[in-house]
């Protein structure tokens, strides 16, 4: 993988009104950046901006490396199987996909266990794992995860946390979440509050930070 760095400098974001102003974040390969904030604080908007889906009102976002964005809601097609959904977004053959799912860090997600199951018959955890695998097949250097643990049971959460740990060794991860257990695995946590992003000092828990 390429050297993955993210440099966000004085970025302001607007969505109908100004959401964030003068956000500055630097992330290197191996960083797991946690974005903490209440609903509507701009976490998802910031991830969208990093992915390039949303334009910034001002400031610059420089990326070195390819991004993969796992959104809060999935883009899966319900009536198709996991394999069909994966094949939609990648030029890889079925055999190559199986190989990726079983022989790389993606094996942690255990997608191969339900590869022929239709999405409409999957649990929330399965869908989330499949959504992450779908993005990861394109070999991103920077992974953006929006609420990756929302509404998941403990085994599914553990699988995804293990995967994030594994991925952080080779890339950069941005996570927007409310989940305290996930922030334990972050190298830096930014608190998004009152339109600004501030680095959370060590020793302060996310719950305390949110007040």
């Amino acid at each position: 993988m390429a050297d993955s760095t993210v440099t966000i400098e004085n970025v302001s974001l607007k969505y109908k009104k100004t959401i964030l102003t003068n956000v500055t974040i630097n992330a290197q390969k191996g960083d797991v950046i946690g974005l903490l904030g209440l609903n509507g604080s701009g976490k998802s908007t910031l991830l969208s901006a990093i992915s390039g889906l949303r334009k910034t009102a001002s400031g610059t976002i420089k990326l070195s490396g390819k991004t993969g964005f796992v959104t809060q809601e999935n883009a899966l097609i319900e009536e198709l199987t996991a394999m069909d959904n994966l094949k939609m977004w990648t030029p890889l053959s079925k055999a190559e996909i199986i190989k990726e799912l079983t022989e790389t860090e993606l094996s942690i997600l255990k997608v191969n266990d339900f590869i022929d199951l239709k999405v409409k018959r999957m649990s929330g955890g399965m869908k989330k794992r499949l959504a992450i695998a779908s993005v990861l097949l394109s070999k991103p250097d920077i992974l953006l995860l929006d609420e990756p643990l929302a509404a998941l049971d403990i085994p599914a959460k553990n699988d995804i946390i293990n995967f994030i740990d594994s991925f952080s060794k080779v890339g950069t991860v941005f996570i927007a979440s409310h989940s305290e257990e996930l922030f334990e695995h972050c190298t830096k946590i930014y608190l998004l509050k009152d339109g600004t992003a501030t680095l959370l000092p060590s020793g302060i828990s996310p719950t305390e930070a949110l007040g």
Partner: protein, 362 residues
């Protein structure tokens, strides 16, 4: 992605087909019932025509008698032979007859001479279904009487020609006229000129309703297919953009899939209808393709604009049904007030409907 969409089409088709085959059967039953109801033998004549034939015109009376017994006439037109021209006028005036036919004195004697007298046909303010029937009667009668010479006047015009005060003679709607008469005159040139209205008159109610209901089913298919679209979902579009796939490509792919599904519905309906109608035109399997593409593109655009399948269904049912109704697609314009016939020419669905009728049965 194309392969995945092909697979989706195959998975979606059974739902679409089952839904619309059921709807199609229900609508066909309605068409059959409606046409049977209109034309069954026991049904009383639905159009009354007052007819005056002078006493000395025995040949004319014989002609009228023959016309009355024609299959195409006897179940649809009640020819009421009256004793005087004034009674014809009176019946038209009072609405007891939709039209009046006055055979003049000396009609037979002068036939074929420069002084040939003309049959006069009076119309009440109707240029709808009844008029088609009356007009057919006129042709049948003209043939039997050995002439196509007939003067076609509104009751008001006849009153004026006769020196009567139109206000005292008639209280008949004034707004008939040019549209109606132009139409009638076009009908006189039927063998040279065919226009949309002639086709409406030419085809039986059953074929007309079947064609328009088929179109209606295809329009409504957008509502079921709306669940198929994913390109109207922001998350899906974002995912596609990150994968380097532009939205317009997804739009075209989904519109193409919608067209395939709509066409498949038509194909199945066509096959089913072939067992019922001998007049089905196999060429329509090709000629409807542009219409199917238009429906698919409009449907896909609607689904992309509105996004929510529930709202799409509201719009499809609400706007689609209303426009089809106003275009005479659900109930023939002939059975509706005159205003609907005038309004229909501004309705694009009217032309789509005509297109389907021509395509399926011509």
């Amino acid at each position: 992605m194309i392969k995945a969409y092909c697979k989706r089409v195959l998975l979606f088709l059974p739902y679409v087909v089952c839904y619309f085959l059921a709807l199609g059967i229900a609508m066909l039953a309605l068409v059959m019932y409606a046409s049977e109801f209109l034309y069954e033998n026991s049904t009383e004549s639905i159009v009354s025509v007052a007819c005056y034939v002078p006493d000395d015109e025995s040949y004319g009376s014989l002609g009228i008698g023959l016309v009355k017994n024609l299959d195409s006439v006897k179940h649809t037109i009640d020819i009421d032979l009256v004793g005087s021209e004034q009674k014809v006028i009176s019946k038209v005036e009072n609405g007891d007859a939709i039209a009046g036919i006055i055979v003049p004195d000396g009609f037979i004697e002068t036939m074929g001479t420069p002084d040939a007298r003309q049959v006069t046909v009076l119309y009440r303010d109707a240029d709808t279904f009844e008029e088609h029937v009356v007009n057919d009667l006129l042709y049948a009668m003209s043939d039997l009487l050995g002439t196509t010479q007939a003067s076609i006047l509104t009751a008001r015009e006849y009153a004026e020609q006769s020196g009567l005060s139109s206000s005292e003679a008639y209280d008949i709607g004034y707004d008939i006229q040019s549209t109606s008469l132009h139409y009638v005159m076009n009908r006189k040139n039927l063998f040279h000129k065919v226009d949309v209205d002639d086709l409406v008159a030419k085809y039986a109610v059953r074929e007309r309703l079947t064609a328009s209901y088929t179109l209606y089913i295809l329009l409504m298919s957008v509502f079921v297919i709306s669940f198929f679209f994913r390109g109207n979902n922001d998350i899906f579009r974002a995912r596609a953009r990150l994968a380097g796939i532009r939205t317009w490509k997804i739009f075209l792919l989904e519109a193409g899939c919608a067209a395939v599904m709509i066409y498949f519905v038509y194909l199945l309906l066509f096959i089913c209808l072939c067992f019922i109608f001998e007049t089905m035109n196999a060429l329509s399997l090709i000629t409807v393709i542009p219409a199917v593409l238009i429906i698919a593109l409009l449907g896909t655009s609607l689904c992309y604009l509105v996004k929510s399948p529930t709202t799409v269904s509201y719009i499809t049912f609400g706007a689609g049904t209303s426009l089809m109704y106003l275009a005479g697609g659900l109930i023939p314009l002939d059975f509706m007030p005159h205003f609907f016939s005038l309004a229909a020419i501004y309705n694009p669905f009217y032309y789509l409907n005509q297109f389907f009728m021509r395509s399926m049965f011509l």
